[in-house]
Symmetry: C2
Subunit: 889 residues, 2 copies
């Protein structure tokens, strides 16, 4: 006894069913299932994926018994159709299609009308009394078979047909013309391969072999490897009796979706063509017709072609189709993408599968199906890819608008933006104040550009990677951004950039698409961003109920905080305060402070910074009324506040009234070989406590003022870059001293917490000791990843491409969280911290807080919250729900 | 019943004994013990340390019963001496001394002659019939009591005595003169404090209070804190009947050592003064006399003073002293430092303690004592401070030579060196080739200076800390080095440096002392370095037998390897290969390689490097015949091989025949924001495999050649900076491919291993996976410490001083291994690595391999070896023995 390799289906009975996807492939399982459901599926049989894998295991020979089983399958088809394969009276024609469990690129396309040859074509003509149909079918068969089975380039066949057709619609060609085309096509085959195989059984065997082999091309193997699919999954082969949509005016073929793949509404959407076969609908050679006259775009298509909607042209078939799609949705609990054919008035359904859809449609469908009782909430939540959500909330380019792409960089932050090209942040601010739309173009950005970035519609840089300053900041701002666009050459001096032959000058309009990395000349219209729709709100509400992990946002100012809140953030997990020192007045004061030679000057300078920061904190606290706000005290090294170009040094020295030499000398003192590992964060807190103390005073003065106004303020002061428990102990003391002093001065009570970033490996190792001085931990996974790998994000561009090419890394660990290595530190620190202090709150801030794989991991190791950029909040909320559901399973 | 607070001793009986150091202090315990041993100790009593701690606990009042006990102690003294405290007939005088368990700075000095007042001084004069002695004793008492008990500045008393003495020796002053001095001294007390306390019991109470209080000064508390001593250890107080060395010509006082504290030989060494008291010997106001006429320096002292050696002047006392010191050594099993007094011909011993000694003496004494059967080998090993050993092996300045110190920097690498000042490495090489002694003076050094450093006698830099490039490399070379000498200003352009008013020009001689950080003008004579003496060899031999941890050395060339071997290294644990690329021919080729635009040019350039490296490896292998040599493949980023000064860029471009613009552009590409975390180590192995392959070929060609000559070569190829197991997997494959190819070409068999540095936190976390591709791990604790702390050694100077000042760190974690944090990673990686691969050999290379605390830790976590700079090898060998002994206990 041997394994069964062939599963038949037809006439209401099927050897397989819908659950057997691994064995029969997705298409074979669907055909079996639809047959069992009593649907009008043309009979056929499926050769299993096992047969395919045995084929390769034995070096390319069919497994024992497959010959016989295929022959039995053909006999079965002859029996149920009453036709004969190769028969001269009533010939049986079949289609042959590949059908793996998971569809892969490079797989063989369909072969239709197999079984035709110089004799059977004539029999078909006689039997149908439709010679034109017979020869049309034959010319299609020779072309498809020659192309996909014999490997003769498609263009050689197309050339014959094009010449014969001239500039007519091919449907105007006569039977005789088509017969002559067939003769010529057979000549093409003979030239390239040998005499056209006349024996239908040889045609079938060659086609099955070709399907098998197409599952093992380099392209398919690469796809399996990169998608973590088993390399021996093989493909099934579906052999099915032909039905013909090209049999005349009462025949047709089409594709349809059970709901709109674009917006997910319950609109039965599809396209069809009368008297056509297979690929005609999708090939774009004919304008397809709508299913109903009220479909989007139906009026234009009908006007252009003079045709009718299917519901009007073939009302019975249409009604049957509507019933079928409802039945299939009931069975599959999913939106279906179907292929159908009407042969001389009779409807056949040839295939059904889960329909692809936009992210917005996916949300709508999932929510609707829960409300229709088709699926439960967990299923609905799991159906949505969290990453896709982000796209829903960004403006997109109008897909129909013309555009001239002049360069392509890295897709750093999605969304489309148009504006005038400006090269300097100060100028961007000036234009923005006049209400002009600006795209900031830089070789790279630095913290001094933050204000310019804030006011720009989008950012374009010629250097840097996905984790460059520009990319990270833009994602944080939810602002479209293209980085590392090496195809442009920025010339600051001449205020222009080159992109190939194109020169874009200061003030010219460009458009960037942060989702594709494309840079376009001029202003390409965008579509308004889909709003937080009813379905979206429902879905995310469900997600919040399901998730254990809370989601906060990283936001540095009032408007960002408000946006984060509207996107569902339940707090600010990271408010960076650097930018507050870069406002012009603050920057000047900060520089005076850094250059001060005595405590009084230093204190006076910091006093100027205080009210500016207080005002900023007030805005943020007001936006987050009732929710916690984690404020990170100053993090970057002091030299970032000083100029580094010679011309700027002289100007700044003049501005703040010191000698250029003094400034140069101070710069020399502050210069660092490795600034990332230098004098920053809590280290400044230890050496220059006045800065942190000023910030803390600003925070608590703001908190007290708003508390008096009735706003509920929950400040969490966070100290960055701790490596040694004592660093935190000392600085926590400073925070508490100043906070208590302000509370006492104002006689207001504010609940606050003092905690730390865990972003240095040593802090993770000593988490128990660090926890003694912390109310909360926030994992700064950006720096923690860099320190743990010993990679600097600014420099890894030098070797990352080689690393990915040689398989050392599959992606940057800064983009996707390294659960294997850095994850150990996060898990260890959480466990140790919470063992020492049960109430310790642990979260993650940094880009990984919005990375679904990261969120899963953070859920698993028991963190309390993640914090990410506002536009990633929905992603994180849904990911958190997924993590909870997966853990429950 | 209350605790006993007072322990008496005298007349052969003592309440305490030598084991009661914690309760009685070191001095009190020794006095009790000596009394028990029947030695001539003046009677006395000791107030316990517990009394002192209770004093502080109760806010400064004496514990219950102490009053009575002190009174009983006084009564006891009166009884055994037959004198009366404050008596007008035969007055009892006592000394009061502090005596903690561990001596601390800031503790109260001795008060002698307590009990004297305006009446008893006269009684003493009468009783001794020696008014001069009585008034001399009184003026000493008023001064000491006023200074150390009442806190009146010493100079106020000294002024009175100086005026009265004029330019005479004070021994020439008459009784009457001294009496007048006493009157004036009492006036000083009255002015500053109040009437001089006449009541001996009040004198005693004030003195005891003063001793108590002196154990709790800020200075003492700081000392306890920094030495990990309990803060409540307190101090004991010793009250002892006076004996007088100042009673006339037949009286004397002195200090002596049971063996030479300088070289450890069994020579009874000491100094004494006739008719003197207490501090006169050590105060330096009189030239002390030798114990015997054959003592070192005796002839000069005798000639100058016209005095006699003790053995001649007081033969009986001398003979008794010799017997006592032998008895004390037998009891304490340690070299003793004793104080004695001869009162009118009778010898008294006042104190004994373990004698301080030089490192060389310590070794000699420990080895001798084992041979004398006094102590066992473990005790001998534990007696030697490993760090002190390093000093024994370096040249030292002749202590008697005059010198002019012009600046002081950091003591980066011990040893003294003199040479002509040279500012550039190339010129240092030229002069060295002509046989001239050179001291290289730089603002800071870089890898390009390695050759210049190699040929210099010593290195002086104006910048950098203990872990700057200069310091680390110099320690590795065992070369004297002073760094961070901010007091000098180097002017490269004018080829000179300033040190205060002094200008030192190129070619002038200077001397540096790397053990003190001093920079001296001219050539100060040095003493030849003590050689690896017999005792040293014996001691280290014992250490090797005792130790489990093996000790290797870091050495980069043949001579260093030979030196390491002579110092007992059993292999090379780290051979850096960078310097091999910095030889002029290699550097040129390396630059061509880096700038090459095609593979052929790159290959041709590397082919030039190959023979140069092979020759270097041959030298090292030959020196290490039979021992393993771990060779680290190239570690620094490529830009280190390119020039960075504008003028050099043009020259280099010309030299290697590229356009200046091309070189500048390549430099721009290679520039890194954080080079420490940049494109270096294995990352270059991944992106540019040709470099490692060339190095591996050079290694194995050298290994095969020497193997043929009969040398036993055991190469271990080490790949640095691994963070991802795959990095190692790929590069290990390269190494094996090239190695096997060379072995095949030469038909020679060589055993070799391929391993990795563990210096990136992630490699430690993933040690199990890394171990799969490694035969050995070598912990690079320098980089591992920097990454774990997020500190860069080049930049930490900006905050380290503040960190130490505020108690965040006690020292740089680069100087002393951080067992708490970085240690966790080392322990974890060792455990995980060995679990996955039992045969995995684990060691440490880097400065911590020679740090005794580090060695203890590395022993404890189960490493197989440590590797350190050659001059630290003895330190590590002894530390390894200590670790084994400590674990055994």
């Amino acid at each position: 006894m041997h394994t069964q390799h062939v599963y038949t289906f037809g006439a209401g009975e099927a050897a397989g069913d819908g659950t057997m996807k691994a064995l029969l492939g997705g298409k074979g399982a669907a055909l079996a299932q639809m047959t069992r459901l009593g649907m009008p599926v043309p009979p056929g049989f499926t050769i299993t994926t096992t047969a395919c894998t045995e084929f390769f295991r034995s070096g390319g020979t069919w497994p024992v018994g497959l010959d016989d089983e295929v022959e039995q399958g053909v006999a079965y088809l002859e029996k149920v159709t009453g036709k004969v394969f190769g028969g001269m009276d009533h010939p049986l024609l079949v289609s042959v299609r590949s059908g793996a469990a998971v569809s892969m690129p490079g797989m063989m396309d369909t072969v239709l009308n197999l079984g035709l040859n110089d004799q059977t074509v004539q029999a078909l003509a006689r039997k149908t009394d439709n010679p034109r149909f017979a020869w049309d079918s034959f010319r299609r068969f020779i072309t498809m078979f020659g192309d996909v089975v014999l490997g003769i380039h498609y263009s050689r066949f197309a050339r014959v047909m094009d010449q014969a057709r001239g500039d007519r619609d091919e449907r105007e060609m006569t039977a005789e013309e088509l017969r002559q085309v067939c003769v010529q096509l057979e000549e093409v085959v003979k030239d390239a391969w040998g005499p056209f195989p006349q024996d239908p059984r040889e045609q079938l065997r060659l086609s099955i072999d070709a399907v098998f082999k197409s599952s093992n091309t380099a392209r398919a193997r690469y796809y399996r490897k990169t998608h973590n699919l088993p390399d021996d999954m093989g493909t099934a082969v579906n052999v099915q009796a032909m039905v013909f949509g090209n049999m005349g005016a009462n025949s047709a073929t089409g594709v349809c979706f059970s709901r709109s793949p674009k917006d997910g509404t319950r609109f039965f959407y599809g396209e069809w063509l009368p008297n056509a076969q297979g690929e005609d609908v999708v090939a774009g050679t004919h304008t397809p017709l709508p299913m109903t006259p009220d479909a989007p775009g139906a009026a234009e298509a009908l006007a252009k072609t003079g045709g009718k909607a299917l519901s009007d042209a073939m009302p019975a078939a249409y009604a049957e189709l509507v019933a079928l799609k409802d039945q299939l949705e009931q069975y599959y609990k999913e939106m279906q993408d179907m292929e159908f054919t009407v042969e001389d008035g009779t409807l056949y359904i040839l295939q059904t599968r889960t329909g692809k859809r936009t992210a917005a449609a996916a949300v709508q469908i999932a929510v609707d199906m829960v409300e229709e009782g088709l699926i439960d909430i967990d299923t609905a939540l799991k159906r949505i890819d969290p990453v896709a959500l982000e796209m829903v909330l960004r403006p997109v380019l109008d897909p129909d608008a013309p555009r001239k792409v002049i360069a392509k960089g890295l897709d750093a932050s999605p969304g489309a933006a148009s504006g005038k090209v400006i090269f300097h942040s100060e100028e961007a601010q000036e234009l923005a104040e006049r209400g002009e739309a600006v795209v900031l173009v830089r070789m790279e950005t630095s913290p001094e550009d933050i204000q310019g970035m804030t006011v720009s519609q989008g950012i374009l840089t010629s250097r840097g990677g996905q984790t460059s300053h520009a990319a990270v900041v833009a994602r944080g701002m939810g602002k479209p951004c293209v980085v590392g666009c090496a195809e442009i050459a920025v010339d600051y001096a001449r205020q222009l950039f080159y992109a190939g032959d194109t020169v874009i000058k200061r003030g010219d309009w460009i458009t960037i698409d942060g989702a594709t990395g494309e840079v376009m000349e001029g202003k390409v219209p965008t579509l308004a961003p889909p709003t937080d729709s009813g379905a979206m709100a429902t879905l995310l509400g469900w997600a919040d109920e399901r998730a254990r992990l809370k989601v906060r946002a990283n936001a540095d100012n009032g408007p960002d905080a408000a946006r984060a809140r509207s996107l569902g953030a339940v707090g600010i997990g990271l408010c960076r305060t650097e930018h507050m020192f870069f406002q012009p007045e603050a920057l000047r004061a900060m520089r005076e402070m850094i250059l001060a030679e005595d405590d009084r000057t230093r204190a006076r300078a910091l006093a100027q910074v205080l009210p500016l920061q207080r005002a900023e904190f007030e805005q943020i606290f007001r936006a987050m009324d009732g929710l916690p706000v984690t404020i990170r005290l100053l993090d970057p090294p002091l030299h970032e506040f000083l100029p580094n170009r010679a011309e700027d040094i002289a100007q700044v020295a003049k501005d703040i009234g010191v000698r250029t030499e003094a400034l140069t000398e101070r710069l020399r003192q502050l210069h660092e070989a490795n600034p990332m590992m230098g004098h920053r964060g809590v280290r400044i807190g230890v050496t220059t406590p006045e800065i942190y103390k000023t910030q803390v005073r600003a925070i608590f003065e703001a908190a007290c003022k708003l508390t008096r106004e009735g706003v509920v303020v929950i400040p969490e002061v966070m100290i960055p870059l701790v490596a040694i428990p004592k660093e935190l102990e000392i600085n926590r003391q400073y925070v508490i001293e100043v906070a208590e002093q302000v509370l006492k001065e104002t006689s207001v009570h504010v609940d606050y917490r003092v905690g730390t970033m865990i972003e240095i490996p040593r802090a993770a190792l000593l988490a128990a000791e660090v926890a003694e001085h912390a109310d909360f931990f926030s994992f700064g996974t950006n720096d923690l990843t860099q320190m743990t790998y010993g990679f600097s994000r600014d420099d890894m561009g030098l070797f990352l491409p080689a690393y990915i090419q040689r398989g050392v890394l599959t992606e940057s660990p800064l983009a996707h969280f390294d659960t294997e290595g850095v994850g150990q530190l996060v898990a260890m620190a959480t466990e140790r911290g919470k063992s020492r202090k049960a109430k310790l709150k642990c979260g993650v801030c940094g880009e990984h807080g919005g990375d679904p794989a990261g969120v899963h991991f953070f859920h698993k190791v028991g963190l309390d919250y993640v914090s990410c950029s506002p536009f990633r909040v929905p992603v994180a909320r849904l990911s958190a729900a997924h993590a909870a559901i997966d853990q429950g399973r």
